[in-house]
Every structure is written in C-alpha cells, then in structure tokens.
Amino acid sequence: MRYIPHTAEDVRRMLQTVGVDSVDELFVEIPDSVRLQRPLNLDDSLSESELLVALQELAQRNATVSQTASFLGAGAYNHFIPAVIDHLVSRSEFYTAYTPYQPEISQGTLQAIFEYQTMICQLTGMDAANASMYDGASACAEGVLMACRATRRRRVLLSRGLHPEYRSTVQTYCRYLDVELEEIPVDAATGRTDLKALGAALDQDCAAVVSGYPNFFGIIEDIGSQAKLAHEHGARLVAAVQEPIALGLLKSPGELGADIVLGEGQSFGLPLSFGGPYLGFFAARQKDIRTLPGRLVGETLDLEGRRGFVLTLATREQHIRRERATSNICSNQGLCALMATIYLSLMGKTGLREVAQHNFSKTQYAKERIGALQGFKIPFSGPTFNEFVVKAEEGSAAVLSRLEQQGMLGGIALECFYPEFDQHLLVCVTEQNSRGQIDALVDALAGGAS
C-alpha cells in the first residue's frame, strides 16, 4: 500500500518495542462481541492508473460549463478563474496544514486570513469579518442566530426574495431554538421585498430582517430603506449576498446601513464543483464583534516586537465556552478563503469593478432581447445585476427542455422553489457567456415550440 510505509521488518521491530507479539494484540480492548468478523465488503484496491480511468469514466457523464452553454446561477456562478489561483493553492504548505493553532509555524495561513478578513470588510463596508464559514446558506443561519444573541430577541423576518436554500437552512438551524421565523412577501411588480409588508411585520421583538443583495431573482434590493425600517424597531439588518461579484459595482451593504453582511464567496475564484466546497463570508460592525461566530485572526507582536498574526477572541468558541459558545463551528474554509483572497488580489480595485460591469452589461443585453420576444416577459421591474426572471407562456419546463435539446442550459425553473411561479425561469449571464451564446439563447427561445 503506497501510502503506508511499513515493511514486514519494520512491523516486527516495532511490535518488539511495544512488547506484543502481533498487531492483533493491540486491539485487545475491543471485545469480540463488537468486532467485525469478516473483511469489509468494498471493491478491491485500484492502482493510480486504474483509478484515473474510473474517475474519467464518472467525470465524462456530467455536463460541464465549458461544453454546454450555461445560464445557470441561483447561488453558484460560472466566472473565469485565473490559473494563478490553482497554482498557488496547490502549494502543499497551504493545503496540507491544519487550523493555525501554532502561530509561529502558521504565519502563511494566518496572514492570508487576515488579508481575507480585510478584503471582506472593504467589500461589505463592515468593521470585522470572520475567517469564513461553510457557505452562504449556513453563514446566513449563523447570521440569524447572531442577531438573536446581539439583540436578545427571538423573532426574525426573512424576505421571500432571499435564496430559498438559505431560508431552508435558517429553518433547520432554528428548528429547536425557539426562534420565530416569518416570511415577508416580494412586491409582485418590482421583485423587491415589500416594504409595506415589512413595516407592518416589524415590532419590538424583532431581532433581524434578512434580505438578499442581490436577491434570488437577481434584483438589487433597497437595502437602505429596509435598514432604516429595521433600525426604527431596534432590529439588525442582515444582507445576504449570494453573488458577491455584484459588490464590485453596487453600493456596499455597510454604506446602506446593514449591520451584518454575509454571503457566498464561490464567485471569487472557486470552481462550481457540483455545489461545493464553497465559501461562506461573514462580516459585522465593531459593536457586535464579541458575538461573532467562527474563527477570527488578529494582529499582534512577537517577543521581539515583530508584527504577527494569531487566532484571537477564542473565548467565544466551542472549545472554551462549550455549550454556551456562539456557534459549534470549529473550522473555517481555509483553502477556499485563500482562493478568494488570491482572486481578489489579482482583480484588485479596478478589476472587480470591470468584471462586475461586464456581468451587468451582458445581463442587460440578454434581458432586453429576451423581454422583446413574443411569448416572453420580464415580470419584475426592479433593477438586476447578473440574473433575471423570465416568464414564458409555454411554461418553464417546456422551454428548458427545448433549450437542453439544443445543447443549452437555459436557466432554472422557479417552480420548485416558488409554486406560484410555474411559468418562470431564472436566467444568469456572466462574463463567461459570449454575445454569440446569448444570441443563440435568444434565437432558441424565439424558435418556439418545435
């Protein structure tokens, strides 16, 4: 076995040192009654070359975004990934290390996380960011719990425009925690959270209002007005960013008054990878830093006065506070956060804005052309970033299957998340979709039922 170095002679010598006659004797504490009395029923060991053949066979049976024109978004986005990222995260000093418990030999990871935290703060307009969480949906659940801790209140308002998987993750986390969740409808004309309904639902028991920015329909929410309403009732405004490329162009949630900003960082250089691993980012205001969930890296000095970085404010965490911890999380998405940090440092101040501008322009182009087609409507008037909803008279399932036959993944049927939207599909356009692809999509849609 090539990952196990022991020769028969090694084993013999080691058993002698231990003072037993056989490897079996080492397991003497495990009673026979609970032992497995047969070999594991698994396939036999493969060589490296056989393994690669088996992997290729599985891999080729999946549709990739490079072979198929894809207009799928909904929380996972096909953006260009510079070669630098994979090259750097393949350095095994990064990927074979663990959580930086020993700061003297983990400064690479620690400094990179400190830089990551800083860039997340700069993008979101917040004071402090944690070292990352599993993904946008779980970060959203943690955001809800944090708002409850910070306000000592138990009622949370979730916009129906918030990503449905984020909403259901929040529900799972709150299942047994005596937190009351209420959904705020979306305005049927604009696709934005209904401010009147929000105002009516807010009261002195509300811990938080949670909205997507942009929301699940790609609409740029009026976070400023929502924050104002929330604050009037002493509640926190939580902005959940499912497509963070938007932050290159849109006002930061912090500038608009959000108190907690979290979201999905996959767009920052992480492969789609059939849904994960991705990157939950999480940022908040100074006043709330001691209720933050997750790992935090802070700056300090060493014995000789040199700048260095350490994990800090650990007393919030499970290994010290145990059942009173701010979360049970004990890892972060270290390598994914590193990928995002590299992506953001390559793109920098101007690149992120430019790539956001490309997404926005291409989406506007597609949206205008599709909206002009017979049988198709753009039902929401609110401004969008790189996704938009299309209403198709022939029904979303029929349209999508027609497009699939022409080698296109044209969007996502909204019906599985919103039963009331049975004719609607969600179309996403990124900088990876050429004008040719967009035109082909429009032509295919215009072709009608054939």
């Binding site: 001691r290 650990a314 007393t315 010290i320």
Partner: protein
C-alpha cells in the same frame, strides 16, 4: 496574595465592601491570578436586579471565561465604566481600581453567610 481585612468574600472568589445599604463587588486577587491576563470584562446595566448566585458579568482571559455571580441579591446602582476599556486593571488592582459593580442590598441577612479575610485565606489554601 492579598486578602484585605475590611472585605467579605464568597466561595466564587468575589469580594464585597459593605457601606450602609450598598455593597461594592469585584473579583479577588486569587481569581485574577488563576484567570491570567484579563482581556475582556462585561458588566450589567445600571438598574438591573440580580438574585444572589446569579451571574451579573463576565471576565475573560485569552483562554478562559468566567462568570461573576451576584454575592447577594440587589439592584445595580453603579458600574465601573472605565473597566471594560481597561480590563488589565483587574490584574493590577483587583481590590481597588477594578471594582466592578455597586449593588443596593435587598436582604441584609444574606451578608451573614459570607467569609471574612481569614476564612477566605484558609478556603483558598485548601483549593491550591
């Protein structure tokens, strides 16, 4: 380790200074020494009521968290507002500059169960 004579002590390592119907409360020299460098202090709001034995505040070092319990029942009439900004004072001056809260006593009988300096010194020695 210091055990000022004029103070009363609890088994949770808090000290009390009784003046008329108000007690000043803090943590003892022994408590700060076992915690190590204090990095954070959380105090209650003025006006809150606490029952004896209920936590009213938190003291944290880098790797430990400790609740601070109300030694007697009462209302918070004053807090040491400078303490949260200078938690290190709990290490340097636990009995003076680092007082934490002043409580108005609701039941003077509760004072009777407390230790004096000698009793507390013995108690601490047994702990070690």
């Amino acid at each position: 380790m210091e055990f000022p004579e004029e103070l009363k002590y609890t088994e949770d390592h808090e000290w009390l200074l009784v003046e008329d119907d108000v007690v000043t409360v803090g943590i003892t020299d022994f408590a700060q020494d076992s915690l190590g460098d204090v990095v954070f202090v959380e105090l209650p709001e003025v006006g809150r009521q606490f029952e004896a034995g209920k936590p009213f505040g938190v003291v944290e070092s880098v790797k430990a968290v400790s609740d601070v319990y109300a030694p007697i029942s009462g209302e918070v009439v004053e807090i040491n507002e400078e303490l949260p900004d200078a938690p290190e004072v709990l290490n340097t001056s636990p009995y003076e500059d680092a007082w934490m809260v002043k409580l108005r006593i609701s039941d003077a009988q509760e004072l009777e169960g407390l230790m004096d300096a000698d009793a507390y010194r013995t108690f601490v020695e047994e702990q070690e």
